[in-house]
């Protein structure tokens, strides 16, 4: 296959990837978008086979490895529960990172295969691109592994900090740059390996000080890194598909982290420099327990909602933990049979991942046109009879509107307190992710339903 022809096909596959992301602008077009993505990938792979043109025994092994990898991937994809999406994404990122490292290593060991010169005198530009690609890839790999372990609960979610941590990171980062500089001079194998090793270390060190609950921002940031690594390798291999995709993924990941930080009203650096959620948690959760709260049970809740004309459901992280989405759907079906108008209100950072709640509700067969974003539904609380807050906390906390001292001040919140009555389903009065008390628990129009979200919802279904 001529270089020109394959360049055109790589361009096409890059464009198909753009269309894949574009499809996600609405659920209707998203499935078609995914097919575009798959087509783009197939084109890229086939074109690569044809332009290498080596269909010997090696090709056979390539197919085998593809098949093994593909089977593992498919198996995981079908088996993974929807609640485990955050760690799945983290895990997958680590693989992309490692693959980038391996490709860079192989290019370094056999530059002639990639038209980059011969061993010991690789073209300068290629050398810089491939070592940057390898370094970023390695950071992505080990960082994602840590994120995975924290999210999966294998490693404790609490931030690991020590003195001089930021200095150490800075030092290591600079030393990578210095080493790349020397690598360009003498092209020594050892230097290259050292760069890769230090980068692995940096990945670990960068992520351990970040609290478990901040992992979503981190995942998205690592996503961005994996894109930049791919783009770096793309420059080395002079491959348009890789460059386009790398830039796409790189910028999209960065923007997604930005959107998340904005949704929480925190700065990106605040998140990355770590350790915030966990430390506050203990201090503020103790002093307010004495205040009186209204305590309800499933029958009270069922009675209130049955007689309401409209109910808004506000799901949060607790719904995911309790896997209460199916029970919730049943409850809503029962309410609808009673002629109650029900809709769902999703806060942009409800849960632990952007879009987390939407996926879970979709899994429970909730039609997406009953599910509304904050701006779409926030005015409706004033005209609604019952707000059913299930496992959500911070995203309803009015302190974000009133107290400039509060860590979540300025974060947009759902105005549940405007509805006639508010039901809170949670297990205790303990605070949510931001570690601050929620004044709503003590209000007159609030009824607390202390229980696991799933159990409580199932009981309500029974009472209905």
């Amino acid at each position: 296959m001529s270089a020109n022809l394959s360049a055109i096909f790589y361009l096409i596959s890059g464009i198909l990837f753009i269309l894949a992301l574009r499809g996600l602008s609405s659920p209707e077009t998203s499935r078609r978008g995914n097919y575009f993505g798959i087509t783009g990938m197939i084109i890229a792979i086939v074109v690569t086979f044809l332009s290498v043109g080596n269909f010997g025994i090696g090709f056979f092994y390539v197919l085998i490895f593809l098949l093994i990898g593909g089977s593992i991937g498919s198996f995981i994809a079908f088996r993974i529960p929807m609640t485990a999406m955050p760690e799945l994404v983290a895990g997958f990122h680590s693989l992309v990172g490692l693959a980038a490292v391996f490709v860079a290593i192989s290019a370094f060991l056999k530059p002639d295969a990639f038209n980059l010169g011969v061993v010991g005198s690789i073209k300068l530009a290629s050398l810089i691109e491939m070592s940057l690609g390898a370094a970023i890839g390695a950071i992505t790999f080990s960082g994602s592994i840590i994120a995975f372990l924290k999210l999966r609960g294998i490693m404790s979610g609490s931030p690991i900090t020590f003195k001089g941590q930021h200095f150490l990171n800075l030092f290591l980062g600079l030393s990578i740059i210095v080493l790349i500089f020397f690598l360009c001079k003498n092209q020594s194998n050892n230097l290259f390996w050292t760069i890769v090793l230090i980068s692995f270390l940096v990945g670990v060190l960068l992520i351990i000080p970040i609290g478990g609950a901040d992992m979503p921002v981190v995942i998205s940031m690592l996503n961005s890194y994996s894109g930049w690594a791919a783009a770096g390798i793309g420059f080395t291999l002079e491959n348009t598909a890789l460059i386009i995709t790398g830039a796409l993924v790189g910028s999209s990941g960065a923007i997604l982290s930005y959107i998340m930080c904005k949704g929480m009203n925190r700065s990106f650096f605040n998140v990355i420099l770590g350790g915030w959620g966990a430390s506050d948690q203990s201090t503020s959760s103790s002093n307010k327990e004495q205040k009186p709260v209204k305590n309800g049970n499933a029958d009270d809740a069922a009675f209130l909602m049955k007689n309401a004309s409209s109910v808004i459901i506000v799901p949060g992280y607790g719904m995911a933990v309790a896997q209460a989405q199916h029970a919730l759907r049943e409850m809503v079906d029962a309410l609808k049979k009673n002629g109650v108008k029900v809709s769902y209100a999703i806060h942009p950072v409800a849960g632990r991942m952007p879009g987390h709640m939407n996926v879970l509700l979709a899994e429970a067969n909730v039609p997406y046109d009953e599910v509304f974003e904050l701006e779409e539904i926030n005015n409706d609380f004033a005209n609604c009879d019952v707000a059913y807050v299930i496992g959500a906390n911070d995203v309803t906390n009015p302190v974000a509107k009133t107290d400039p001292q509060s860590p979540i001040y300025g974060m947009p919140v759902l105005d549940v307190e405007k509805s006639k009555s508010v039901l809170f389903v949670k297990r205790s009065l303990s605070p949510g992710y931001a570690g601050i008390d929620n004044d709503l628990f003590y209000r007159d129009n609030t009824l607390m339903l202390f229980a696991d979200a799933k159990k409580m919802t199932e009981e309500i279904v029974k009472s209905l």
Partner: protein
């Protein structure tokens, strides 16, 4: 008067950053989770490099050291490609309109 191809690639890179920027802002927030899984899948197009790494070389010496790294990279990227696209598909399949 010939322009270095690197400059063209740089242009493509920069324009793609702009496209990525805008494309993501246009993604509806309810699909942010599938967005993360699909970007993961498409970034595995790095498999292109892996295939080259695995295949190039003399026909009989399939498992030279540099090829081995290529094969390993293929394995990892393949997990991602299949896993990423399929899990995205599974999620998207769940988003339904009211009947």
């Amino acid at each position: 008067m010939e322009i270095d191809p690197f400059i063209f690639r740089l242009s493509i890179f920069i324009l793609s950053i702009f496209v990525g920027y805008y494309v993501v802002w246009s993604v509806t927030p309810s699909l942010h989770t599938p967005l993360m899984s699909v970007t993961n899948a498409i970034s595995s197009v790095i498999i292109v490099g892996a295939i080259i790494a695995a295949l190039v070389g003399s026909l009989d010496k399939v498992f030279e050291i540099s090829n081995i790294f290529g094969f390993l990279a293929i394995l990892l990227a393949a997990v991602n490609i299949f896993g990423g696209f399929l899990v995205t598909q599974r999620m998207l399949q769940m988003y339904k309109k009211k009947k």
